[in-house]
């Protein structure tokens, strides 16, 4: 792993998030100026496409392709949404981003929204992120005063309004169609696709929903060019990524590193290795919906949204299993039966497992539920609910108690 440029965290802790002057002092909003004075939406799109920037929310869809699809729509009204719902357990990179450098995020939102032709953008903020809300509200007011937002941005014909939409605690609202439902005052249940949000999204208009971390890369790409970005990290998923280290590591927190990093390197170099006296058991990568990796599998890349939870041998595994199953049972929206019932029964069986009362029939039923969740649920939540549990069954000896 070589020394990589810090794209997102460069000024964390060095600038005051409540002062726009600090951000301007380190060259902030220069990318927006460049976009308005020297570029146009097709040109900006070309840069993002050549950067091969992938979504940082977990799914990894190409940002350029998403934008292009929305730009191809003829509708006069379009929306841009920054997804800052971030409710995956163990993931708080976007909160740190908003709290440490809110203007970087705003600059990214403004450039993105103007590129796709939106005059209104929303920040869908996790309902529990009170501090981030205050900071972002302040940042929006400052950006308006400095003419980076409003009816004539930097005296150009571009206009944009940004509104913060604070959620109310629902994991599923991180899924883009559920998020759109939520802004429309409906239950935050996912919708069937197609039509994709980029064709028919918020209030029936073309809408691009991007993760906050994805958006925070945009100013750098506009300033330095897509080719330079594509040269960093992996070929098919370039750039840097925020990684969240947790569990038995020495340094817990959010770190930025190239996308090339393996789980082992992340634990050693970013997390500082294991805490004294703890023995590695496995790592869960990507939050509660993430796969489990044993010691011999640690040379894989970090998948999903970038969380690495290191579990050591002192942990009561049944507490952790129950935390996953109760989480998905609680957060299943109830729209489709396989997920609503599947997550519920999986939790019941896991409770019996924790009590040491699991029967052979339960074990068989568990495998059936995994299959049903993986193959028949309406949206990815159901699939996620099975990932870690299946790995636990296959890789850890969780049935040993019985």
């Amino acid at each position: 792993m070589q020394n990589n440029p810090k794209i997102i965290t460069q000024y964390w802790g060095k600038i005051d998030p409540l002062k726009i002057e600090d951000y301007l002092g380190v060259g902030g909003y220069a990318s927006l100026k460049k976009f308005i004075e020297k570029m146009n939406p097709p040109k900006a799109l070309r840069e993002i496409k050549s950067a091969k920037l992938c979504g940082r929310g977990g799914a990894g869809f190409l940002t350029g392709a998403k934008w292009e699809s929305a730009m191809a729509q003829k509708s006069k009204e379009k929306y841009f949404v920054c997804n800052l719902d971030e409710s995956e357990p163990g993931i708080y990179k976007d909160r740190m981003l908003a709290e440490n450098n809110p203007h970087l995020l705003l600059e990214g939102i403004i450039i993105s929204a103007l590129t796709i032709g939106a005059k209104k953008a929303f920040i869908y903020l996790n309902g529990n992120y009170e501090k981030a809300k205050i900071i972002l509200e302040q940042a929006i007011i400052q950006a308006q005063k400095n003419k980076f937002l409003g009816s004539s941005i930097l005296k150009s014909k571009y206009k944009l309004k940004i509104e913060i939409f604070s959620g109310a605690g629902a994991y599923i609202c991180g899924e883009e169609t559920a998020l759109i439902n939520s802004i429309e005052s409906n239950r935050g249940e996912p919708k069937i696709r197609p039509p994709y949000p980029t064709e028919k999204g918020l209030f029936g208009k073309p809408t691009v929903v991007n993760n906050a971390e994805t958006i925070a890369n945009i100013p750098w790409i506009i300033q330095n060019g897509g080719k330079k970005f594509a040269a960093i990290g992996l070929k098919n998923n370039p750039g840097t990524k925020l990684f969240i280290l947790g569990g038995a590591v020495k340094n817990k927190g959010v770190f930025e590193a190239s996308t090339e990093i393996t789980i082992r390197e992340a634990i050693e170099t970013l997390g500082g290795g294991l805490q004294k006296g703890k023995t590695f058991w496995f790592a869960q990568v990507g939050g509660a919906s993430g796969n489990l990796y044993l010691e011999k599998e640690l040379d894989s890349l970090v998948s999903g949204a970038g969380a690495i939870l290191v579990v050591d041998k002192t942990v009561n595994i049944y507490d952790l299993l129950l935390s996953w199953t109760s989480f998905f049972r609680r957060e299943s929206c109830g729209k489709c039966v396989p997920c609503r019932e599947g997550t519920f029964r999986l939790h019941e069986i896991t409770e019996r497992l924790a009590d040491g009362e699991i029967s052979d029939r339960d074990k068989e039923a568990m495998l059936d539920i995994f299959w049903t969740l993986e193959n028949t649920t309406f949206c990815p939540l159901g699939k996620f609910a099975a990932v870690a549990m299946r790995d636990a069954v296959e890789k850890l000896e969780i049935f040993r108690k019985c």
Partner: protein, 145 residues
């Protein structure tokens, strides 16, 4: 008071969520009476108000208990003995996690709040406690007894 909140918003369905959040913030929950008034104002069926409100964790349709205790039970907090903390609280107040029958005290498992590095997290009536342990939780509960 409710009328004052309603008049801040145009009666368009897209404002319903914002109204519900505000009512919940001011009164602590959305009572049936208030839900009916909101339905009348938006010219929507009462069922629609509940359809939206009942979906979200942070919107309450029942009066919350006087003492609301929430314990994070995800990832880092679980590794940091949040399960033991829940047991301690259950024994201390003789309640059961998830029960809604006691109007005075409630104990609830909640999902990740994104404060993993400061976990385990316990919240008592909106006050957030960080790095709680199974032994330190007694002192916190004593504050609220």
């Amino acid at each position: 008071m409710l009328e004052k909140i309603l008049l801040e918003f145009n009666p368009e369905t897209k404002n319903l969520f914002l109204v519900l959040k505000k009512v919940n913030a001011v009164f602590g929950y959305i009572s049936e009476k208030d839900a009916q008034k909101i339905a009348d104002y938006f010219e929507l069926p009462l069922a629609k108000i509940y359809e939206t409100a009942s979906f979200y964790d942070l919107l309450k349709t029942k009066k919350p208990a006087n003492l609301e205790i929430k314990v994070c039970s995800s990832g880092d907090c679980v590794l940091g003995e949040s399960a033991k903390i829940i047991q301690e609280i259950e024994n201390y107040f003789r309640i059961k996690v998830g029960d809604e029958f006691n109007p005075k005290i409630s104990l609830e498992k909640i999902s990740c709040l994104g404060r993993c590095a400061e976990g385990p997290i316990v919240i008592v009536n909106e006050k957030v406690y960080e790095k709680v342990t199974a032994s330190s939780v007694h002192k916190i509960l004593g504050e609220w007894r």
